[in-house]
């Protein structure tokens, strides 16, 4: 089929990509690992592992503190990584990138910082498909302030009911906080439209980007959201590091999150002057190695190209979906028109937990449970789902292996 001069080859060479990930060549129970739990956390490419090791081996020092050479090297690497994250999501300024532990901490920071502006009866709008980390911090805020949480419903396919969203926006709405891509369903939400509708009424918007930046190009300036939270470990970077984007004027208005070193300009017992953004929010010695690793992960993603990644993963999802439709008794949970490479499903008469164990015995790692999104499970009136979540280092052969194993599950429970 290939004719000379025409490039028919996929832009992403999966065999080469797999060489970049040491763990993909490991075995479990003496069988080659098939890792299909990428929405929980992604594996790390060698460049990320080396960036972390390299920092500890030759560049370890505290940042922003000392005049000595190593501290300067560490500070440059750490601040350089911030600029990389800035570029990944196209923030206007690196001061708008706050290093944190991840999305959970990002949302907690916002919820704490905004608390004082909420009065009893004020409303926060989230959706029915939020991760618990975009529910609980707001519930805590509601408990403190008397504010009320309102929920955008989702339809049977797992898409937000946008009409209902518009109806929810009213004079009492003070904030909208929604997930960009659902970890439980794979739905890619129309966040641009959500921001526009909220902004028409002067309402700020927080976006949980935990499941998005590793799959699609994101441009926070174009989205125009006030906040955008991401987690390093879901985008091929270490655990314990993440970033919160906030528009500079919003970050400036927010009070500090924690008090301590690095977040101050001067301290005396009479009072303290806080540091500028983003340092105002970065109390204490940060996860320097993690930040540097996250910078390396950004480089890695950009070297593959997010457009290439998205198109490769889209093909994988289509392939997996076709296979799933051929399994009798399998129901896909989440069939939105626009979906990331997540396949959540149930199988008649087999509990997801049993599916997970049987696949695990064949070296196949998937996630089973409620995926920290219990309201989604309640919406579909199921206790749990099994979830295959794919990414650019997965192959069709791995998907075949998973579906062969699922047939085995049905045999056991026939």
């Amino acid at each position: 089929m290939d004719s000379p001069g025409v490039i028919t080859q996929a832009a992403l060479d999966v065999d080469r990509v797999r060489q970049d990930f040491p763990i993909l060549h490991e075995q479990v129970y003496g069988i080659d690992l098939v890792y299909l739990d990428n929405a929980a956390t992604t594996q790390k490419p060698r460049t990320v592992i080396e960036a972390v090791t390299n920092y500890y081996s030759v560049g370890n020092a505290n940042v922003h503190r000392a005049v000595h050479r190593l501290s300067q090297v560490a500070t440059e690497a750490y601040e350089g990584a911030r600029v990389k994250v800035q570029r990944l999501i196209n923030a206007a300024d690196s001061r708008e990138i706050v290093w944190l532990r991840g999305v959970t901490e990002g949302i907690n920071l916002i919820a704490n910082g905004l608390s004082a502006q909420f009065k009893p009866g004020d409303e926060i709008v989230v959706s029915n498909m939020e991760h618990h980390s975009n529910i609980v911090p707001w519930q805590m805020l509601c408990q403190r302030t008397g504010a009320v949480l309102r929920v955008i419903p989702i339809d049977e396919s797992g898409q937000l009911e946008m009409d209902r969203f518009e109806e929810l926006l009213g004079p009492r709405t003070k904030l909208v906080s929604v997930v960009h891509v659902s970890n439980a369903l794979g739905t890619v939400n129309p966040v641009k439209r959500i921001v526009d509708l909220a902004h028409e009424r002067g309402i700020p918007v927080v976006i949980d980007g935990a499941q998005c930046v590793q799959h699609y190009p994101v441009d926070v300036q174009e989205l125009d959201c006030e906040f955008y939270a991401i987690s390093g470990h879901k985008m091929y970077a270490p655990t314990g590091i993440g970033a919160l984007y906030g528009k500079a004027d919003w970050l400036e208005r927010l009070p500090p999150y924690q008090g301590g070193g690095d977040m101050i300009l001067s301290v005396s017992f009479e009072g303290t002057t806080y540091n500028e953004i983003p340092f105002k929010f970065e109390a204490g010695t940060p996860h320097i190695a993690g930040a540097i690793g996250m910078g390396a992960a950004v480089d890695y993603l950009l070297s593959l190209g997010l457009e290439n990644i998205a198109s490769y993963e889209h093909d994988l999802l289509e392939y997996a979906t076709e296979q799933a439709l051929q399994i009798p008794g399998l129901q896909i949970v989440g069939t939105a028109d626009k979906k990331s490479s997540v396949l959540s499903f149930t199988i008649d008469r087999v509990h997801p937990h049993d599916i997970g164990t049987i696949l695990d015995q064949q070296g196949i790692a998937i996630r089973t449970g409620h995926h920290c999104a219990q309201p989604v499970m309640d919406r579909y009136q199921i206790p749990a789902t099994a979830r295959i979540s794919l990414c650019f280092y997965n192959t069709r052969q791995e998907i075949d292996a998973a579906f062969a194993a699922l047939r085995k599950v049905q045999e056991v429970f026939s």
Partner: protein
């Protein structure tokens, strides 16, 4: 690889999963409790009818994985006619069995429940196997608060 799985999903377990015994609410119950395993979303309710320290009847309700459903089902079968003290002993033995303690340490006859021995190779599944038993214990202690295995 599959043999270890067969050990976990023994015929008896698969059978009790498919057709659980003593399933449903029990009108004559004078003790009951609810248990929850947040890891897999399993929920179970255990109903006990006790007369003069003797367990006359036990039933359960709920949705769960094969291990937890079969465990609840076999538990109800093994408890009828036992004293509360015997039931507690059996629970200890069952716990030892699924967590892989020495056989000598079983405080009493485990009988049919031995089919759950395979669980000891799957530490993450121990909670599934013991959910009904924890709930039983809560009922016997007349705890009103739902128990969890977390």
């Amino acid at each position: 690889m599959m043999s270890q799985l067969d050990e976990l999903y023994q015929e008896v377990i698969l059978d009790h999963n498919k057709s659980p015994r003593n399933f449903g609410a029990l009108d004559s119950a004078n003790l009951q409790a609810e248990g929850h395993n947040p890891l897999c979303g399993d929920k179970v309710k255990v109903f006990i009818e006790i007369q003069k320290g003797l367990i006359r009847n036990v039933t359960f309700q709920g949705a769960g994985c094969a291990i937890s459903t079969a465990s609840a089902s076999l538990m109800t079968e093994s408890l009828k006619g036992k004293t509360v003290q015997e039931a507690r002993k059996l629970m200890d033995s069952f716990h030892d069995l699924v967590t892989g303690q020495d056989e000598e340490s079983y405080s009493c006859e485990i009988g049919k429940l031995a089919v759950f021995e395979g669980v000891k190779k799957y530490p993450v599944r121990v909670k599934c196997a013991t959910l009904a038993w924890h709930t039983l214990q809560a009922a016997l202690n007349q705890d009103k608060a739902p128990v969890t295995t977390e």
